[in-house]
Each structure stands twice: as C-alpha cells, then as structure tokens.
Amino acid sequence: MYPTCQHDLYTQLETGFATLPKTYHQFALWQLGRYTLLLCFSTPTIFEKMGKSIAGLKPIDNIDSSWEISYDLCIHCWDGEGRFDAAPTAPDWDQYGIDGKGIINLPASPDVFCSYVWGVGALQAYCSTTRHAYYWITDANTIPYWETSFPFRQILSWFFQSKPIQPIHAAALAYQGKGFLMPGRSGSGKSTTSLFLSMQGYDYLGDDYVLLDLSSTNPTVHALYHSAKIDDHSLEILPQLKNQAYKVHSEDPKSVLSFPKTNPLCSHTIDAILLPRVVGGKTHITPARESDVVLAIAPTTIHHLNVDAKKVLSLAKELTIQCPHYWLNLGRDIDCLPNLLHETFY
C-alpha cells in the first residue's frame, strides 16, 4: 500500500524494519554535546561507509534485547545486502514526485520528516515523537564520497530543529584554549586553511560541516566528522597531505582525508569567527561586518540542508552578536598564518 502522507511512509519503514531479524552488525554511540546518539548498522559494509567519518564514534559490543541504553536519538542504518527482499516495499516515487532537494511530495506530518537522497538512492526518515530515524539504501557500495564523508547531516538537522543547535557549513579549529569558527562558501579557502592549520598543531573540528551550539552560555562548536574533502588544487598547495588523501572512486573530483579516530577534541567554545577569502598579496586580518558572517553561514547551510531557513538566519545573527568576527584575507604566504593568528588572538 502506498503511503498517503509522510507519517505513513515513516510507519511503513518502522514496521518493515521491525520484521527483519534483529541482528545489527554494529552499534555505536555518537556524543554531540550533551546529546547521545545511538547508531545501529545492519552490515559491515554500511558501517564502514557511514561510520568511519564520524568524529568520536564509539562502537559498543552488545545491546541486550531490551535495548536498555540511554540515548536521545537512535539512527537505524540499513542497506540491502542480503536482506533486500525483506526490506519495506519502496513507494512509487514517480507517483508522488520528489523535488530537487529530495523532499517527498506527500502531505507533511508535524512530527515526521522524510527525504530521498539524490545520487545516493537512500531514503531517510525521522520522527520527533519516537526519536528514531531510518537511513535505508539498497546498495551501500554505491554511496558516493560526499555522502560517506558527512553522513546523516540531514537527520541531525531534523533532530536539532527545535533546539538552538544546528549543523552549519563551516570549518572549525582550536588552539591553546581558543576556538575559531570559519564559515565560508565553497572556494573561499576554508578547507585549505583548516587543513594547513591542523598540520601546524591546531585541533581539527571539521572543515565542511560542524555543529553550532548556542544552547549554553558560550557559543560552542562540536565536531561532527573527522574527514575532509580536498581538491587537486589544494593538494598542490599542501603536498604533505597527498599520501593521506584518497579517492573513493577514481573519477571523484575531490579526495578524502581521514583524521585519526582518537582525535581527543570534540567540542570547543567559539572565541572568534574568521571568514576566509582569497585575496592574494600578503595574508592579513581585517574586521568583518555582522552581515558578512550571516552571509557566510546562512545561504550554503540553507541550501545544502533542508533546514528551517529562518532558524539558520537567526542563529547566525545571534552568533555574530556573541563572537568577534574578522575577514581572514588569504595571500600566497599561507606559512605566516600561525604567527598571524598568534599575534592577533594570543
């Protein structure tokens, strides 16, 4: 029976997965600030694909049948390996239609969110009442690098929707007690700068998506992923990373870098916002307007994730009120960056 609304679709997923043998391959805990996420992976393949980039992911050996473990969100991650015939019947996508961002054109439900991930062939759904989410793909081997590098970001956006916490498109680093948030459009120098500084001893919290948390006294950033994407041009600027970078598929435009899973830093307060931009000449720091920060954060976050745009704008504004903000004008002399930051902020 085809779902008549998004809640129906979610219920079909929930019911379908409940009929499958309860033999998850791997459970793991993902701590994001004060929130605990329980991830359940059905097969080794999908655990390898979707779990390896997650910062601070802690595999756990066993959950007893009563599932007595405390969590704020449970994400069930299934692929079709060996179990496709038992998986829920896929709805007729042509009948319902899916827009360019994967929004499924079924009547909405206030507590259920569903979307289709184009290019991956995955269906994801979340219910705020049950606090369970499903990520279902038929073949995990086909998941592209840009999905395995930053998994579940849509589900996270749904989960944090009613909280002053939001995955945003930004890099983040910390060094000797100071945390720096670096939002910026693709091509702004954000990834190259964060990777370079991580090689200079800065703690890496992310280069593309991080979790902005304004729920406590001081603005805080939580690491989501310990992977980075780097293009060939940036690898020329940072040749030391060539040995660590790899392409998931040879034709991928970007390579992936993985950072050690034992990265001890998962969160840090934000002490300054740096907006990278490539200007040439000598690298220097200048004041930025609050609107520059909002423009650096909001449009890409809104358009990369199906999020509440008003919330993103509001959080970005609140962040600029609480944190000093600067342009990081990048020249060709990237080597001077650590000294420049030290002179400016320490």
Binding site: D99, G100, W146, E290, V294, L295, P299, I302, L313, T320
Partner: protein, 130 residues
C-alpha cells in the same frame, strides 16, 4: 500597499543590514541603511507614501522615483508583492539611488534549480553534470 512575500522569503536584520533569502530561486540579498529600514517596514503592508515619509528622515533627499525603482528591484527579485497588480506594469523610472541599493548574490541559485533527473551526473545532486 506593498509587503514582503511570505513563505518563500526569509529575512534577518543584523546591525542595520538586512539579509534576505529567496527560498524559491536560491538568490540572496543584502540591504543596508535606508534600504534596510524600508525593507523592515515592508514586514507589514506599507504604502508608497509611508515609505516616502520614512525617507524624509534620511540625510540626503530621496526622490519618489528612487523609491519606486527600489520597489521594482524588490519585485523583480520576487521579494515583495503589491495589492495593486497594475503598479509594476508601469514603466520603471530607473532612478537608482545609492542609499537604496540591493546587493544580490546568485551563486546558490544554480544548485537549487538543478533538475535532479537530467542535470546531475552519477554523483548526484548537488554535483552538476559538467
């Protein structure tokens, strides 16, 4: 009367600058100073006369043609609507005043408007088919 479009347009004002995002076409805009003030006024239905009154407080005179040009610019970007459907059928006076400048950015627009079936490659949205 003129007012912001609801639903498809979201906005936030920071330090006398308005950031406006059009969720339908992916474009976003920045307005500062007087332009930001007029945009803030458009949260509620506002008349041309009321906008002109607001401009009287500005340091330099702002002509009515400049205000109309500003409204045309907002309408062109699908940010506002008018009770009077014929208003935007009249010729645009094209009287640009730097105090009523609307900065527009369309680098996100291409991403948003991709046809996922035909315009993306095997890597899928948001990777355009080059």
């Amino acid at each position: 009367m003129f007012r912001r479009k609801s639903g498809s347009v979201v906005s936030e004002t920071v330090d006398q600058e308005a950031i406006v995002v059009n969720l339908l076409n992916g474009k976003y805009h920045r307005m500062e100073g007087l332009a930001c003030q007029l945009w803030d006024n458009l949260t509620e239905p506002t008349s041309l006369e009321s906008l002109a009154q607001q401009c009287l407080l500005h340091a330099t005179p702002i002509s009515k043609q400049a205000i109309i040009t500003f409204l045309f610019a907002l309408n062109e970007e699908s940010l506002i609507e008018s009770d009077d459907e014929s208003f935007f059928l009249q010729p645009n006076p094209v009287c640009n005043d730097p105090a009523l400048c609307v900065e527009s950015y369309d680098d996100m627009a291409d991403l948003l408007l991709l046809d996922p079936i035909h315009d993306v490659d095997e890597a899928g949205w948001p990777n355009k088919n080059i």
